[in-house]
Symmetry: C2
Subunit: 338 residues, 2 copies
């Protein structure tokens, strides 16, 4: 937060962490640093664009504070042509004071950039009253269907329960939660008796430290649970395009053979790659193979961490296709193994 009555200062415009690295304390001391970098939209996969753009949100405040800045603003890391500010995690490093940091919607960032171009000495008034509250105890939520042949072998599928509460968290990650629950519910409705135990896991606190995922992994190791695989859905409720898999090459080859069961226009590929944030700790702890469903990425960052991520932004048919693809994938793993 800012001081109670706000703060007023001139604004230094830089593009990115590379930009701030070229500045000296003389340039920055007592000023607000404005990271004005557009989303890296040249990547066809928007998650790559996000990865290329997000470092300034995470480390920009401390880098600027180290040079004497009194606050930072960033152009929101999103693809939407709107004025929604996008939130997200920020890491204060120990080598700098913790200064206020805020994101501007794209239109507001355009406006500020225009003003500063005309008048580089313009002063900006910033007043923020956010606060960090103490931690409270929270929980992962887990449901399962016991396996009929190998009840101790678990196929887990999940998403995360928490969201940045500027919106509903509908695509991030309400969609993943619904994918996971409804995929298992669909198999149950069909009267399917799984060989292995099918488990839907709703991880808590992905957004701010992966605490649910870390605790899940810790308990899995402690309880000697055996996971056949853990699957994540945390990329929105859009038309499904692919699965990603991290595990034995022989397992990947086997899965790619299953492509024949996915009709045209559903899943295009099963390819090598990581699982997802919440199941990363489990993979790291005991080597559990991990996978993820990859929906079409083009619209995700219109909504991600913003007030636009609401229930009505999820298309029912696209969400259902994701659920159906996941249910098919889980069924194949349960029947055929890895």
């Amino acid at each position: 937060a800012t001081p109670k009555d706000g703060l007023t200062a001139e604004v230094v415009v830089v593009k990115s962490l590379d930009g701030i690295a070229t500045r000296s304390p003389d340039d920055v001391t007592g000023k607000i640093v404005f990271y004005d970098e557009p989303f890296a939209s040249e990547h066809v996969n928007t998650f790559r664009g996000y990865g290329a753009s997000v470092q300034k949100r995470i480390y920009g405040a401390s880098r600027a504070a180290k040079l004497g800045a009194v606050a930072v603003l960033i152009r929101s890391i999103g693809t939407g042509d709107d004025d929604h500010p996008h939130t997200g995690s920020l890491r204060y490093t120990e080598d700098a004071p913790q200064i206020p940091a805020a994101a501007l919607g794209a239109h507001s960032a355009d406006k500020l950039a225009q003003i500063l171009e005309k008048n580089p000495k313009a002063k900006l008034f910033l007043k923020m009253n956010c606060q960090t509250l103490p931690d409270v105890l929270s929980y992962n939520v887990i449901g399962e269907i016991k396996g009929s042949e190998n009840p101790d072998d678990i196929i887990a599928v999940g998403g995360h329960l928490d969201a940045w509460d500027t919106g509903h968290g509908a695509h991030d990650d309400g969609a993943g939660i619904m994918h996971s629950i409804v995929a298992l519910q669909s198999l149950q409705t069909l009267g399917y008796q799984p060989k292995n135990t099918l488990r839907a896991v709703m991880f808590i606190n992905e957004e701010n430290g992966l605490r649910g995922g870390k605790k899940y992994a810790e308990l899995a190791v402690e309880n000697k649970e055996k996971h056949v695989i853990a699957i994540e859905s945390d990329a929105g409720g859009f038309t499904p395009r692919a699965f990603r898999f991290k595990g034995a090459d022989s397992s990947l080859a086997k899965m790619q053979d299953w492509m024949q069961y996915f009709p045209d226009n559903t899943i295009d590929a099963i390819r090598a790659g990581g699982g997802g944030p919440d199941i990363g700790p489990l993979n790291k702890a005991d080597g559990t193979p991990v996978a993820a469903i990859i929906p079409d990425a083009q619209r995700y960052f219109d909504f991600h961490h913003s007030p636009a991520d609401v229930f009505s932004a999820v298309n029912k048919r696209e969400l259902e296709l994701g659920t159906a693809s996941l249910a098919s994938f889980i069924y194949l793993i349960d029947q055929e193994g890895l």
Copy 2:
């Protein structure tokens, strides 16, 4: 239209043309027939679902009129969970009187179905004042970049200019028009000198008889124009998924080799199949090879022929990716030939 003061009649519910075929004049005479069939949403490709659902809109009025019905209503052929009525062409056959026909939005159709389930003798009042105006002269709109090596060899790309004016016609087919114009504009902006003549064609009157496409084909034959290929975009401004091609097997094989130039998550396949409605007449007239860009189909029938097909329903990034894919495809054809 109905008589000026409207008409009031009981309602007979059937599902489809198969449903009306089982009815007799005794069931239907003097009544309104309500075709209450949900969209065939079990097809992953929604265009197949549309194909399976659309016959009752086209022929349902005449079939019901032949049995003595005074009007027909249909549940709109769309996938949206809303109350937009979807329009579209209807064909009166000569063996029956031309009775009024209207579409209901999904929610209104639900409500009517509920009322009729409780009270099958319920009467419905229908008043419509639409009219068919005489034909007027209209035009295709064409722009081209002359080829530097083979100016008489034409690569045409197009969509259609007309739309059902309940909405803006943004996906059907404003997107196709923008795809076509901007694909050529992009190549020009890059300073590209095409070998062949690149032509963007905005066909008129696709929706009500393909007259623009037919006239284009007629004039192409008359003027002995040589088309290398004609490409159509008439399936919305969504994330591109594939191209379809109808022509020599050797040309298709050559194109499939170009898949290497499309990075992950843009074009997944170039496959055999028809071109598009507006270029069909040209293909038929002189055997011109035809192709089409295939965007993701899941949301198309939320918008198609309804008040929801507005500018804001088109995602900028998805539209741009379609344009870029088309520009790449045209470039490859221009460079490599078929």
